[in-house]
């Protein structure tokens, strides 16, 4: 019975630890960012490959996503403050009609590209394995932010956390500053 209790305690501790770590752990860090080539609503093509040599901030969004819209002005602000530091910001809009995305552009007047992932295949590639397994893969990265480094590696990945929502992108900027200062 003593062994059984030890076994149970070990399992509970291991289980709790996995769940706690899952809160803070960023997925896909150090992995090669999946390549993509997407169009803006005006038809201009952008590929991750062509942005190689820059730090790329990617935000996955949908017009109906309230957290994405709350972050939108801060993404523009981030672009204004960091575009001179070899940083490119892009929004990847997931599975929506071009006309809706154009409305979003009109509302926030983004100075950076708003890309259309019409079939959700790019978002699906960025869905971390094992995260929200019950969801369609293209749904998982909605409202997430990533930093891809100059070599195309994922260096920051924040999934949405509505309880500790970071609309002002504080953690992303902090990580970006660290990366930029390391390459100065």
């Amino acid at each position: 019975m003593n062994y059984f209790l030890k076994f149970v305690t070990t399992l509970i501790l291991a289980f709790t630890s996995v769940n706690l770590n899952a809160q803070d752990e960023q997925p896909m860090i150090g992995q090669k960012a999946p390549l993509f080539e997407l169009k803006t609503s005006e038809g201009k093509i952008y590929s991750l490959e062509q942005l190689k040599g820059k730090y790329v901030v990617i935000h996955f969004a949908a017009t109906w996503c309230p957290f994405c819209n709350a972050e939108a002005p801060f993404l523009e602000e981030l672009y204004q403050n960091y575009s001179g530091k070899n940083v490119q910001v892009v929004i990847v809009d997931v599975k929506e009609d071009k006309s809706l995305v154009q409305k979003l552009q009109e509302r926030f007047n983004f100075s950076f590209p708003l890309l259309l992932d019409e079939d959700g295949s790019v978002a699906a590639k960025y869905a971390p394995e094992g995260v929200q397994p019950a969801l369609a893969r293209h749904e998982v990265p909605i409202a997430s932010n990533l930093i891809i480094d100059k070599e195309g590696m994922i260096r920051f990945y924040s999934l949405l956390n509505t309880a500790g929502f970071d609309a002002k992108l504080t953690k992303l900027k902090q990580r970006l500053d660290e990366l930029l200062s390391a390459t100065d």
């Binding site: 059984f4 599975k95 969801l135 998982v140």
Partner: protein, 156 residues
Amino acid sequence: MIMIYSSFIFLIYILSFDNQTDTDSVVRVTVPEIKVQAGKIAKINVHVSVEKGYHIQANKVNDEFIIPTTLEINTPITIITGEKAFPEGKKFRLEGTSDSLLVYDGNFKITIPFKTDKKIKKGRYNLEGKLQYQACDAKTCFFPKTVAFSVAIKVV
């Protein structure tokens, strides 16, 4: 002893999936049967239950891009529905901003008054309804979804 270990491991496995509910079950809709006399007014009570840990956008939203919770019921010409009454949404503050959303969580009720035609035949009528919603939980926001339900009206 092996059986106890196996059962325990299985239990742990099941518990680890407790917050990964299938999005189709985030919202459940139930409508009790309504009995009404021909030519009289009655109410359809649509009971909506939002899974714990989730919220859906309210019917009145404060942003044009937000998908509000809406409800449609197909009615025959002998049943005329009035204005749907949705509850008021609860304020959900978007951390770190001055913005807030209006949302529903837990259980709430939407009521729809209706009137039957005087000449409607006695019997059971099954109406088809649809509730459209957009849900979020602590980790993600889900694509807008529609849940279908039926409304049984018995004309007596």
